[in-house]
């Protein structure tokens, strides 16, 4: 019988997570073995039929990315696991690396075999010292077992090794150009738009995914495309790691089949278990800070799959879901959201650098009910300005939570304005 939760099936079952033999006893490296026994075409077909899309929030098709890296000729190709995971409310990649790092490493090794890449990096937050030390030990153990290095599994020419690149904390490094700058020793600011699969790290073909996506690869090849895809929907195979936070009864990490009802994820005792005080939810924030805020009454029929959410102009994002009850005023929630974007603006684009500060200030003013007539229009204009003028996603996405919240709870925004106060003329910018 196939476990319905393959990504977390080893969590807590291995005493030493760096131990390769213990990993192999729990179906570890069965995925890579399947890959090595098949032809290149068969392997790519498995990836296509399994319908694995990126779990990092960018929604790309992993088969397409692998194929592009494979076909783009270069002396050195790179596999990068971006496990920096700076999105508030998200802790799935850290959980994977803390509980089953070999699954991520096996996934990266499979990706290297599929794309003929030689060098891998795990980009991980440097302040998690214990996690990095465990990762270093895991990589060393893999080298000792000939699972990293030259001629892996005695396959001539299958050379692949992994290094650790430490992040010092910058949300903008989710943007590939910023990530490559940071990893090369420069500050992690975005440059121009890059196509990683063509000209990525050091301008070479590069596959960039998060830890969860890589951990899916061994599962896909071990189970086979059909069984893997059947864990999810016809368009999106597998399961998804969901981080439930806020006022759900059971906060934490859950592995859910793709295609489950969103209300089941929130309310089923197996998952969120409803709200902490038993009252109905007021809103959820879907996919991370950059996602949409949805009133609870609008999610009753929503299916948690990329295609179903996309049809509603929503995304799974990183898998973060924050839920709040009537006890939470929407402005109290949005102020820290705006602060996050202000703090994480890299400062390159003036609209984002200055605009995110103005947005934060405007929301604080409304929160204190000190707004004046015209403030709501000014706020909307500023959000629109930042979203349209910023050159990378950090500024571009700021409109998602704020505009969706303004649409869902207009009365709470209006309550932040003293409508008897003198109208202040709009300041041009």
């Amino acid at each position: 019988m196939i476990t319905r939760q393959p990504l977390t099936s080893r969590f807590g079952r291995v005493k030493d997570i760096t131990d390769v033999a213990a990993y192999e006893q729990l179906q570890g490296y069965e995925g890579l073995n399947q890959v090595l026994d098949a032809t290149e075409t068969q392997n790519l077909n498995t990836l296509i039929e399994g319908a694995l899309w990126s779990r990092s929030g960018n929604g790309t098709n992993v088969a397409v990315d692998c194929q592009e890296v494979l076909t783009n000729e270069a002396e050195t190709k790179y596999i990068i696991c971006n496990a920096d995971e700076g999105e508030p409310g998200t802790f799935k990649d850290k959980a994977l690396l803390r509980s089953d790092p070999l699954a991520v490493i096996e996934g990266m090794t499979i990706a290297a075999y599929l794309t003929h890449a030689q060098v891998g990096y795990i980009y991980v937050r440097g302040e998690f010292r214990d996690l990095i030390l465990e990762l270093m030990q895991t990589i060393e153990n893999c080298r000792a077992a000939h699972l990293l290095g030259k001629s892996i599994f005695d396959v001539p020419g299958f050379d692949f090794d992994i290094k650790i690149s430490e992040s010092a904390g910058a949300y903008v490094c989710q943007e590939p150009a910023a990530l490559f700058n940071a990893m090369s020793g420069a500050t992690g600011r975005p440059g121009g738009r890059v196509t990683p699969t063509k000209a990525g790290f050091y301008k070479q073909p590069t596959l960039v995914e998060d830890a969860e996506t890589f951990a899916n690869l061994p599962v896909l090849y071990r189970l086979g495309a059909k069984a893997y895809q059947s864990l999810g929907t016809s368009e999106s195979g597998g399961t998804k790691l969901v981080c439930l936070t806020g006022q759900v009864k059971n906060r934490g990490l859950f592995e859910v089949p793709i295609g489950l009802e969103l209300t089941t994820i929130l309310n089923d005792p197996e998952f969120g278990g409803g709200s902490q005080d038993g009252t109905p939810f007021k809103f959820i924030h879907l996919g991370g800070q950059s996602g949409m805020i949805l009133p609870a009454e609008n999610i009753t029929d929503l299916i948690y799959s990329p295609e179903a959410l996309q049809a509603e102009h929503l995304t799974m994002g990183t898998g973060a879901i924050v839920a709040a009850t009537e006890a939470v005023n929407i402005l109290d929630y949005l102020v820290p959201v705006a602060r996050f974007f202000m703090d994480e603006s890299c400062g390159k684009c003036p609209a984002c650098r200055i605009g995110t500060v103005r947005i934060y200030e405007a929301l604080q003013t409304l929160q204190k009910q000190e707004g004046v007539p015209g403030d709501l229009t000014r706020l909307a204009h500023m959000v629109d300005h930042v979203a349209s003028q910023a050159s990378c996603f950090v500024g571009q996405v700021v409109a998602n939570p704020i505009f969706s919240a303004m649409a869902a709870f207009p009365e709470e925004f209006k309550a932040g304005v003293d409508w008897q106060a003198e109208v202040v003329k709009e300041v041009p910018w």
């Binding site: 010092a168 910058a170 020793g185 500050t187 906060r251 929630y333 959201v337």
Partner: protein
């Protein structure tokens, strides 16, 4: 710089990395975490710059850009708490006020004895344990005002010297 780390040890630590620019942040973070005052001083920054082939300005650009790298000496214990939205919903907000009351200092300041400071951060991935305080790699979860008072008292008494 930290008096527990000799120049020889510092150089040995730096030389345990590859002498390439892409190793700069790895070295700076490792060096910072290995030192008592948890910051990158100018002498260390010069050593790293020379070793990886960057300028001193390049190194300080990294240090000033990234929140995890410090330009100034840090308190013995920096109590970090999350000020992002998911934790705000989980009532993390009282932590800053409580620490301000107990320690009598503002965020980012250090107590006179150099022992304690507190700092809000974006997210440390411990959302399900909120309200929490993180000190180095250690999470103190599900806090109340009383538990924070006890934690500060324990830190002052040196009860966590072996794990922090």
């Amino acid at each position: 710089m930290d008096n527990t780390m000799t120049l020889t040890k510092k150089v040995a630590l730096i030389h345990s990395f590859e002498p390439e620019p892409d190793a700069a942040v790895n070295i700076l973070l490792t060096l910072q975490q290995a030192t008592k005052d948890a910051y990158v001083d100018e002498a260390s920054a010069r050593l790293v710059a020379d070793y990886v082939g960057l300028t001193l300005a390049n190194i300080y650009e990294l240090v000033s850009y990234y929140p995890a790298l410090n330009e100034q000496p840090q308190a013995r214990y920096v109590l970090t708490f999350c000020h992002s939205a998911p934790c705000a919903v989980s009532d993390n907000g009282f932590i800053e006020k409580t620490l301000h009351q107990i320690l009598g200092i503002d965020e980012g300041q250090v107590t006179d004895d150099g022992l304690l400071a507190y700092q809000g951060v974006a997210c440390v991935g411990a959302c399900e344990q909120a309200p929490f305080i993180k000190i180095k790699d250690h999470i103190f979860p599900n806090l109340t005002t009383d538990k924070i008072q006890q934690l500060v008292a324990d830190l002052k008494a040196g009860h966590f010297d072996d794990i922090l």
